[in-house]
Amino acid sequence: MIRMLSVCIAMLFAGSLIAADVKFDDPQKQERYEQLINELRCLVCQNQTIADSNAELALDLRNKVAELIEGGKSDAEIVDYLTARYGDFVLYRPPVQPNTLLLWAGPFLLLLVAGIVLVFTVRRRAQLADSDEESIS
């Protein structure tokens, strides 16, 4: 494990091999490819996307993604293919499902709650300001 980590740190700074090995004629497919590989996590060097990682497995995964795109699979199908093998861990964009509802809804709920508190606070302070003025006059 430690060896793995030091190999990955070494590879982190070794620059990227990346998509020099894959190119699509169709720009739409190229864009889909680049979007996908930038949202998939490398399982070996776990702090990088498979786009940036130099690990062999990352190369294999990039090729697989390209192969699936060429084969006409949709983005959702490609994601399913990978999560069937590696689980949700491989996705940097967490899927929206029961165990991530709190994650995706959380910030919005926080904002909502904070907003309500804000409104109440401003109202209360406005009343205070009114009563200040009354007591002065």
Binding site: S6, I18, V122, I136
Partner: protein
């Protein structure tokens, strides 16, 4: 023999820190002037011994004393001497010693200015800071002693991690620590206010410059880290939402909210419990960062070597400090004065909005960073949370901040006329709309509606940044008017301007850049993209004191004319057997041209990553401007006056605002 001196000095420092805490806190409780005064001297003594320990360790590195385990693990005779100094904080044990030194330094600074504060209050602040020092010293002495000896010293060390053999990254930890640790000062002030159940908010005025200075260092530290990642890591990115990046960003967000909340507390005596809570939160998040990096709880490239014993200790420390502070908060906060009222359209409201947005942003980042851990701890699955989540959640909040940032500075305290304020902002509005039209024209509308909105809001923040000083000039146009604008006003405007600049840079580089990975052959065909022509001219071998490698010569042309030759390198550091890339960058304010070497592909070809990055320098320029603004504001005349005088001034201001 000498390294033992360092160990001894640390033990002395621990003893003094304990004494400092007892004398400070108990002295304030007993109203014992002698004890309280002595606590200051003891604090100075603690700093002295910590400095001795740090100096001894540094000397060991400079002198290549490999009998010390820590030196053997992180240094090497081939390592250039400036990096031998940087190696002192290059790994866990030494970086802890740096933490302790910086904390002792901030404590000393507070002691030197303590005469401006009421005696009991100052003693409590020093006492709380002492307790934190005790915790860190115990941690270091029991689990992470940098002065541990090797029975058989090796002939040479393992060398400093090549990542850290870089000027920017060498200085990045100290700057960050000055920031993180600096938040201990507002934390201590807040606790002192709670302990003493202070009815007077003079402490809020006193702590503002400290907070601004700590925030300033954190801003520079984060900016530097981002810039380093950009030119060193070879992928042209500048922020990855990595857990430890987030660990530095959360205290920054809360620290920003704290600075603004302190303004309200100082000026209007309001939001005291919020300010206290933010001060506790800022330092707690700093401690959380320390925990995350050293405990192995999250996967991060920043992580130091982890050890369960250390993780347990830091967690216990975190729980004690934060838990203790929050227990105190729960008990004492209800007794804090509530402060005055204000109308819905007032500066107070805008600052409240600002704080809400920043706090929610920090909360969202915290949620995303810790969520995988929560799920795993509850056995509910294993997921990853990365940039797609953070960008989706953070960007909308920041857009709201950019929208609101123009209004706060120009709105009066307590109540103002919204029509007058909107009129003041007419010019920024016109300029920003003109700006977005130009931007859309230049970029052919790339990126769509969201990008256009982001660009417009960034421009809006930029053009509105100096509205407040300008407003002051509008009222009195005599010669002295410019000079009468307080430093705090300039500082605020420059900092807000900096935020707009950063935002503009972020939008531009994210939406309007170009990227291509190409296989290039020396002397072969050029690649055309992004409006430029890129050609690999040649490759040569290079050698440094502890590395060897290859350097490419890449020519970039526009319309046939040679603009620049980029020289990306691929280095292999011999001792650690690690490869590093040095990107070739042509830096200009309006755009960077970026090239990084990948791998040799066979047949002389190399894979090269090429990028055009418009306005990317704005990101870090903005960061530096924000820090500059904070620094300028910290030196406002108000804070340099003795506190008693300035307390009277605040009271007069408040009375005037109420009338």
């Amino acid at each position: 023999m000498t390294p033992e001196l360092g160990h001894f000095a640390l033990i002395m420092a621990l003893g003094l820190a304990v004494l400092q805490s007892v004398l400070g806190l108990a002295g304030a409780y007993r109203n014992d002037i002698a004890w309280m005064q002595t606590s200051r001297t003891v604090a100075a003594g603690q700093f002295a011994f910590t400095l001795i320990a740090f100096t001894v360790l540094t000397a060991a590195f400079l002198g290549n004393d490999f009998s010390l385990l820590y030196v053997a693990q992180n240094s090497n005779t081939a390592l250039p001497w400036p990096y031998r100094i940087a190696a002192v904080w290059g790994a866990h044990e030494g970086s802890l010693l740096l933490w302790i030194l910086v904390l002792a330094g901030w404590t000393l600074a507070v002691v030197l200015r303590a005469n401006r504060l009421p005696e009991n209050f100052a003693a409590r602040v020093i006492g709380v800071l002492g307790l934190i020092s005790v915790g860190f010293l115990l941690f270091t002495l029991f689990t992470s002693n940098p002065f541990e000896r090797l029975e058989i010293p090796p002939l040479n060390g393992r060398d400093l991690n090549p990542i850290l053999q870089d000027p920017a990254l060498a200085i990045h930890p100290p700057l960050l620590y000055f920031g993180y640790v600096g938040f201990a000062v507002p934390f201590a002030f807040a606790l002192a206010a709670l302990i003493g159940a202070e009815k007077d908010v003079a402490w809020a005025r006193a702590v503002r410059p400290w907070t601004a200075l700590a925030w300033l260092f954190l801003t520079v530290g984060i900016t530097l880290g981002s810039w380093w990642a950009y030119y060193e890591l070879g992928w042209g990115g500048w922020w990855f939402w990595d857990p430890v990046e987030n660990a530095s960003f959360m205290p920054w967000l809360i620290g920003t909210a704290l600075i603004h909340s302190l303004a309200v507390t100082e000026k209007r005596g309001a939001f005291i419990s919020w300010t206290v809570l933010l001060a506790i939160a800022a330092f707690s998040l700093s401690l959380l960062g320390t925990f995350l990096v050293r405990s192995g709880v999250l996967v991060s490239v920043h992580a130091f070597a982890t050890d369960p014993a250390r993780g347990v200790f830091i967690l216990a420390f975190l729980a004690t400090v934060v838990g203790g502070a929050l227990v105190l908060y729960a008990i004492r906060a209800p007794q804090l004065p509530a402060g005055g009222g204000f109308k819905p359209w007032s500066r107070e409201t805008f600052l409240l909005v600002n704080n809400v947005l920043l706090t929610v942003a920090a909360g969202a980042v915290l949620l995303g960073t810790l969520y995988p851990l929560f799920l795993d701890a509850l056995n509910l699955g294993k997921i990853s949370v990365g940039p797609p989540y953070f960008n989706a959640v953070f960007v909308p909040l920041m857009l709201l901040v950019l929208a609101a940032i123009a209004f706060g500075p120009i709105t009066n305290w307590k109540r103002d006329d919204w029509r007058a304020n909107v009129r003041t902002l007419k010019l920024p509005l016109v300029l920003s709309v003109a700006g977005i039209v130009v931007a859309i024209a230049i970029t052919w509308g790339r990126g769509g509606v969201i990008v256009a909105i982001g660009t417009w809001l960034a421009l809006w923040a930029i053009f509105a940044a100096f509205a407040e000083p300008v407003m002051r000039l509008r009222h009195r146009r005599d010669a002295g008017a410019l000079k009468r604008i307080p430093l705090s006003s300039w500082g605020m405007s420059i900092a807000h301007f900096g935020l707009g600049i950063s935002a503009l840079g972020i939008v531009a580089v994210s939406a309007y850049g170009f990227e291509r990975d190409a296989a290039l052959v020396p002397g072969g065909d050029a690649v055309d993209f992004g409006g430029y022509s890129w050609q690999l001219e040649g490759l040569r071998n290079i050698r440094g004191s502890n590395f060897e490698g290859e350097e490419a010569s890449l020519q970039v042309r526009r319309d046939g004319e040679l603009l620049t030759t980029l020289q990306p390198q691929k280095r292999m550091y011999t001792t650690q057997r690690a490869a590093m890339t040095e990107a070739g960058i042509d830096a200009r304010l309006d755009r960077d041209l970026y090239a990084a070497l990948g791998e040799p592909l066979g047949d002389d070809a190399w894979s090269v990553r090429l990028q055009v990055k418009p306005l990317v320098r704005f990101i870090w320029l903005g960061g530096l401007l924000m820090a500059l603004g904070g620094g300028i504001a910290a030196f406002d005349r108000r804070y340099r006056k003795p506190l008693k005088e300035s307390v009277a001034a605040t009271a007069a201001e408040r009375a005037g605002a109420n009338a």
